[in-house]
Symmetry: C2
Subunit: 367 residues, 2 copies
């Protein structure tokens, strides 16, 4: 049976990066009979330009029907002043919400070949391998009320609402514990229970879920501000980190930057397994943004997008061997000193987007 | 006229650190006729043990009446399970709110003698001097509703509310612009306008305040997650950062850790100038916490508390020369290789809390 992929390249360097994934898909269909069927839509600024919305209803339907969505990046100065409701990010947020992709997996790994690119001392990041599990459909991102009200006298009042229910915290912590079991079996939960009621509930539910079903996993709690500090001080102390939508946004970006491998980092956003089929809805996207300043120049680093496709092979299609090989192909190319401009280092060979994609595909073929 | 200081040493290492400030106060009264009059109260766990509240009404009155409050630290495992309303942090939060200390100044500086203690590469932090201006009486810390509700079926719902009014953003950005003028004249404002309505309003009001009164200052806007990344990547790009209460909590902790000088960093929390007297209510506290694991051992680093007192001299009493000298005394002692355990390095002399305090006082006297 067909494997349906819906591609949303988006804005900026998104389309260029996605182009390199297409090559891998084509090769897997041809040489491995992978049976991928692809369709493509618009999201972000490019969707706004075409339809006046950050994603069209038709494309939303396609995303809902697909086995997996591959997402590039959205945004750019061109759309800085479009109305809030149709800003580029709204497309991504709607996808996360309507597909119920509550579990965002963000690996922060340090490619050995790139350890020296980190702003941290190499010994602190060499071999770094953290998995941040960020709750993605709740919290202050989606809570209501979310308003700006005119109070008169030139005063306005802005309100955002952080809301978490027990079940939302339960299911994300279950994902964290499950993932920990496949790794070093340690979870660190981060919140601000000393200031936020949602932090209090978060802490209680994670603790109860742990006691109930996952007491074999080592669980630690940390205040989110202290967690940010510890990430900078000694990131290797962590295995799996589980945290809410907003803290996860901040902490995963800090963690990504620590690795020195920002342009290389993928992410997966997963829904709950379907009761009948066991299938999860899923969206895969690079951690980096749309980088409008270098878009269209053929110099963007496609590795994060390709690594996101590797996560797709692993989590959506259970193609574990293929995922391993694709990740290995990336590491091998880096080891050979082939680099895009963003990760260029002395003695290495500087290449553009397509050459980097070709090099990875060649390695992948050879494995 | 007398200069009234209200001392709240708090829990953990707070009292030990405060002891070293007392010595400096005594010396300034004796040798410089500084006229400091001190009174002392309880806050945090120690207040809870004595009164069943994180700060007593009598001590709140004294804090309100004082020219400045010196605050140590609160919290510890002993009080991990006290009710939310009387947890140690509630004392600090009430002080901030009732004294209307909306402007939290957190310098993140790297003492040259400690640059190698940073987890960042030395060249990225040497000479680092950022001032983070954190809004301290608004946002998700104090917004209502702030509740946990039982929904039945074993489900609870936790709600926290982020609220910002125009005037709150106006006054904190004015502080940021004013401070920038005494420094490198650059402000970077951080929010999540792509996700939060409060971020949209924040961005608008900072922009309007800038245009209105401070167009001589260079203003930049950054998304808070990108800001966290940039702090880790290249912290020296920043001069003054202005941000909301929760982002400020996270970002100032990350920035503090970057410097490698965490145990050295002070903070000032200021109110608005009184319409008649021009005086601001103020509280000064170290950025570090109560460190219960080393409390009572005489090994805590008192530098952050002493540096907080230097900020007090500067901002509450306009004793600029004395503040400069006290800061210089700290730097000199570090240059001489005198270190508490937390900042110990090869070839340095390890001392305890009182010896460190004495060394700084001796330098201060000699200046
Ligand atoms: C683009 C933006 C809405 C998004 C977020 O805040 O979640 C991004 O920062 C991310 O981390 O995926
Ligand atoms: C102790 C705690 C309530 C406090 C805060 O969150 O503001 C602390 O982390 C700080 O940064 O001063």
């Amino acid at each position: 049976t067909a494997r349906n992929l819906f591609l949303l390249p988006g804005d900026g360097i998104g389309p260029e990066a996605m182009g390199e994934v297409r090559k891998i898909i084509a090769y897997m269909n041809e040489a491995m009979n992978a049976g991928f069927v692809t369709d493509e839509g618009l999201v972000g600024g490019s969707a706004y330009d075409a339809h006046g919305a950050a994603i069209s209803e038709a494309d939303m339907q396609k995303a809902l029907a697909a086995d997996a969505v591959l997402f590039g990046a959205v945004g750019g100065p061109k759309w800085d002043d479009v109305p809030y409701e149709v800003r580029p990010e709204a497309g991504l947020l709607r996808l996360r919400k309507d597909l119920e992709l509550f579990a965002n997996l963000r690996p922060a790994i340090c490619y050995p070949a790139l350890a020296s690119a980190s702003s941290l001392k190499p010994e602190l990041v060499e071999g770094l391998d953290i998995l941040i599990i960020r709750e993605l459909t709740g919290g202050v991102y989606f809570g209501e009320p979310k308003t700006i009200t005119d109070l008169g006298n030139g005063q306005k009042r802005a309100i955002d609402t952080q809301v978490y229910d027990t079940y939302e915290i339960e299911r994300i912590s279950a994902v964290a514990f499950e993932m920990a079991r496949t790794r070093q079996n340690r979870v660190c939960s981060m919140e601000k229970r000393n200031v936020m009621k949602s932090g209090v509930l978060w802490n209680q539910v994670v603790t109860a879920t742990h006691k109930d079903k996952y007491s074999d996993v080592k669980l630690e709690h940390m205040l989110a501000d202290a967690g940010g500090m510890q990430l900078v001080r000694a990131p290797k102390q962590f295995d799996v980190i589980v945290t809410d939508n907003l803290f996860g946004d901040m902490l995963s970006d800090v963690a990504a930057m620590l690795t020195g491998s920002l342009g290389m980092l993928p992410s997966a956003s997963l829904g709950a397994p379907d009761a009948k089929t066991g299938k999860r809805k899923a969206l895969y996207e690079p951690v980096h943004g749309s980088a409008p300043d270098i878009a269209g120049k053929g110099i963007a680093n496609p590795i994060a997008m390709i690594a996101s496709f590797a996560m797709c092979l692993r989590y959506s299609f259970n193609l574990v061997k293929e995922a391993d090989n694709l990740e290995k192909a990336i590491a091998n190319v880096l080891d050979k000193g082939i680099r895009t401009g963003d990760i260029m280092a002395e003695g290495c060979t500087k290449v553009g987007t397509t050459d980097m994609g070709d090099a990875i595909l060649a390695e992948f073929k050879a494995l």
